[in-house]
């Protein structure tokens, strides 16, 4: 029998590649299983989950194209669980779950399930799934207590506990958990989908284990990790050594009037290692805009993976040359009992923007201008008028991404922390008592530039139910996303309500007296009330007068800008051709751009004089 104990180390790169691809495919299959068997929209439409394979030393061997926000944090939730439980307390058929943000998690809704993989009675490693449960109890429906002041208001918090023992549900835990969720049937279905996805990967790993044995597969995993580390070190070596600093602000925490919070970063590149130092960041907030260490680490890895070679296999090796300094008790490393539900969904992408601004000082060709930087978190629930059952949903909207050195920013795309999808209107209206009156790009919301920022979106919803309880956690409503290298700022976002029978759009603060217009919980709106969610545009990259005239013409034809704006901002003159179509007036454009160049030079001379 092949136990794998006497296998020679396998070193050829073909085998390494094939096994890596097999493991990545297993993770993808876990995701497909989640999508097809889960109950809630945030899973089967939004794909807000990530699936991974770990070896028994707690090193991530493989993952797939899931949420960057989770792929960093799951390193810590898995490692903590293994350490706290002890390897000796895992057994075949056991599934352990936890959602404690202080034990490595992202925020309370994110639950991690872990299962040991055994071959001939010996532990090889673990498969894991981290996913955002829509409803977890707490003070606000939808698991997003946007005005929480401590973790106890955010929902049911679980340390690592066995929810399945030797293949059987641990009923006491399930009873306890489901009693504290507002939509227990949905939690039941979603958790079973998560557990089922682990079984999919278990089957695939058993096939590999039969072929290579435990020692062989462990050896392959270690070599893949070493390979990724080597590749990442080579990438970092290409970044000029130096220190690069930047900062940004979170506008408010939802509970403290007129106080903003600083995200500070200094990135130090030294040969083939890099230190991300967040010293100088504000102390942790009273409200839930704090990040856990898991979130800050995820954002850091996200930024690095975004600017390095995408073909590097994503495993623990990628992270070895990256050091993080996140002082405890600050916005980016919250301590008990600080709340943190908003950090993962709203601050993660702002951290990435700050890191792009730091790294852009060294490698501007690899980064982007600031993104709209918000998931437009809008939570709602109540008793469904059609079914009479309690329902809850976590709704997200995309934002404009920042322009890059080589291309425009994407329009209305899920922010960089998520890689999620939003729910199609047909599904949304079938499941929830809303009517979608509008869903379009937000005009002129992208920052101008040689490569313009992506546009945000506008969504207008009308409530069909007698009553809906809503919560929201959004930022970037005061200042827009910054441009880079002379690019313009993106437009800030808006969240407004129009009460039934009235004409004016007003803020939730004006309507309901919330401390923040964009971070609040548990507001009840009535039938016929309309909500407008306008997401933010991305910043532009490069001076707008350098945008190729033909691209400006295309923007006008597509309705993304106007003839007047083309002239005023982009210095491009357009003319009507004989056949009625618009064309570029090359001579007039050249004159406009010469005039602009002179004006800029005169301004520079005045500044230096």
């Amino acid at each position: 029998m092949n136990t794998g104990k006497n296998l020679k180390p396998i070193v050829d790169s073909v085998t390494l590649t094939i096994v890596n691809n097999a493991m990545v495919s297993a993770c993808r299959e876990m995701g497909v299983a989640m999508m097809k068997t889960s109950y809630s929209s945030i899973f089967n439409e939004g794909l807000d989950f990530s699936c991974v394979i770990f070896d028994r030393d707690g090193e991530m061997v493989a993952c797939a194209e899931f949420c960057p926000a989770q792929i960093g944090a799951i390193l810590f939730t898995m490692q903590w669980t293994i350490a706290e439980m002890g390897l000796e307390n895992f057994g075949p058929g056991d599934v352990i779950m936890h959602n404690d943000p202080y034990r490595g998690g992202c925020h309370m809704p994110e639950h991690t399930v872990i299962k040991g993989i055994y071959h001939r009675g010996e532990l090889y490693g673990f498969v894991g799934n981290i996913a955002h449960l829509t409803e977890i109890g707490g003070k606000a429906v939808g698991g997003f207590a946007a005005d929480a002041k401590e973790v106890y208001q955010e929902g049911l918090r679980l340390p690592p506990v066995k929810i399945v023992r030797n293949g059987e549900l641990v009923e006491d835990i399930w009873k306890f958990l489901l009693l504290n969720h507002r939509t227990p049937r949905t939690s039941w279905g979603d958790l079973h989908a998560m557990i089922g996805s682990l079984a999919v990967a278990e089957k695939r790993l058993h096939r590999l284990l039969r072929r290579f044995g435990i020692d062989g597969l462990l050896d392959i995993g270690k070599r893949l990790i070493a390979y990724s580390e080597k590749r990442m070190r080579a990438e970092i070596s290409d970044i000029p050594d130096g220190e690069y600093s930047f900062h940004d602000w979170i506008e408010n925490d939802g509970v403290t009037p007129e106080k903003r919070y600083r995200i500070n970063s200094t990135v130090t590149v030294r040969e083939d290692e890099v230190v991300f130092d967040y010293t100088g960041t504000s102390e942790q907030a009273r409200g839930p805009c704090n990040c856990t260490y898991g979130v800050t680490a995820s954002a850091t890895y996200n930024a690095m993976l975004s600017i390095t070679d995408a073909t590097i296999p994503k495993n623990s090796g990628c992270y070895r040359p990256i050091q993080i300094v996140a002082p405890p008790g600050t916005l980016l490393n919250v301590e008990h009992p600080g709340p943190s539900v908003g950090g993962n969904s709203e601050v993660h992408e702002r951290i990435v923007d700050v890191l792009f601004a730091c790294l852009g000082q060294a490698v501007p060709e690899r980064v982007a201008a600031a993104s709209g930087g918000s998931s437009c978190n809008f939570l709602f629930g109540g008793i469904h008028p059609d079914t009479g059952h309690y329902y809850a949903n976590y709704h997200i909207d995309g934002c404009g991404w920042g322009g890059k050195a080589h291309s425009d920013g994407n329009h209305a795309q899920c922010p960089i922390n998520g890689n999620c999808r939003n729910t199609p209107i047909e599904i949304f209206e079938t499941r929830y008592p809303w009517l979608t009156l509008e869903y379009r790009l937000a005009e002129k919301s992208g920052g101008h530039g040689r490569h313009r920022g992506g546009f945000g979106s506008v969504r207008v919803l009308r409530n069909r139910a007698p009553e809906v309880t809503v919560s929201s956690f959004m930022d970037r409503h005061v200042t827009g996303a910054w441009g880079m290298d002379g690019g313009g700022e993106g437009a800030p976002g808006r969240l407004l309500i129009k009460k039934s029978g009235e004409e004016a759009w007003i803020s939730f603060s004006d309507a309901y007296g919330t401390v923040s217009p964009n971070k609040f919980a548990d507001i009840q709106i009535d039938r016929g009330d309309e909500v407008l969610i306008a997401s933010r545009g991305g910043g532009g990259f490069g001076p707008s007068c350098e945008r190729p005239p033909e691209e400006v013409l295309h923007d006008v034809v597509e309705g993304l800008t106007s003839v007047q704006e083309a002239r005023k901002v982009y210095r491009v003159a357009l003319t009507r051709r004989d056949n009625g179509s618009l064309g570029v007036d090359a001579a007039a454009t050249a004159r406009l751009r010469r005039t602009r160049a002179k004006a800029v030079r005169k301004g520079s001379e005045a500044g230096n004089g």
Binding site: F76, Q79, W80, A83, E84, G86, Y102, R103, G104, T268, V275, D277, T279, Y293, A297, Q323, I324, V325, A326, P327, P328, N333, E335, H336, P337
Partner: protein, 73 residues
Amino acid sequence: MGEWKPISTALYETRIHRCDYCGKMVPRRIWVIAYQGKPLQFCDPKCELGWFEYWLPRYGSEHGFSTAAPLDP
């Protein structure tokens, strides 16, 4: 010279041990050293190295460490 120390916690304990360099939470065992009479704790010996190479020269004096002292504890 550092050593690993176990972290034993009661079921009701809410405090989490943190690495003095990176800030990461530490579950069940922690790397401890003493430097200039002060105890320091890390999630890993690599973080001890990072603390001496990166953190101490930058922030040591603000936190009561003499950075004029030799780095070898």
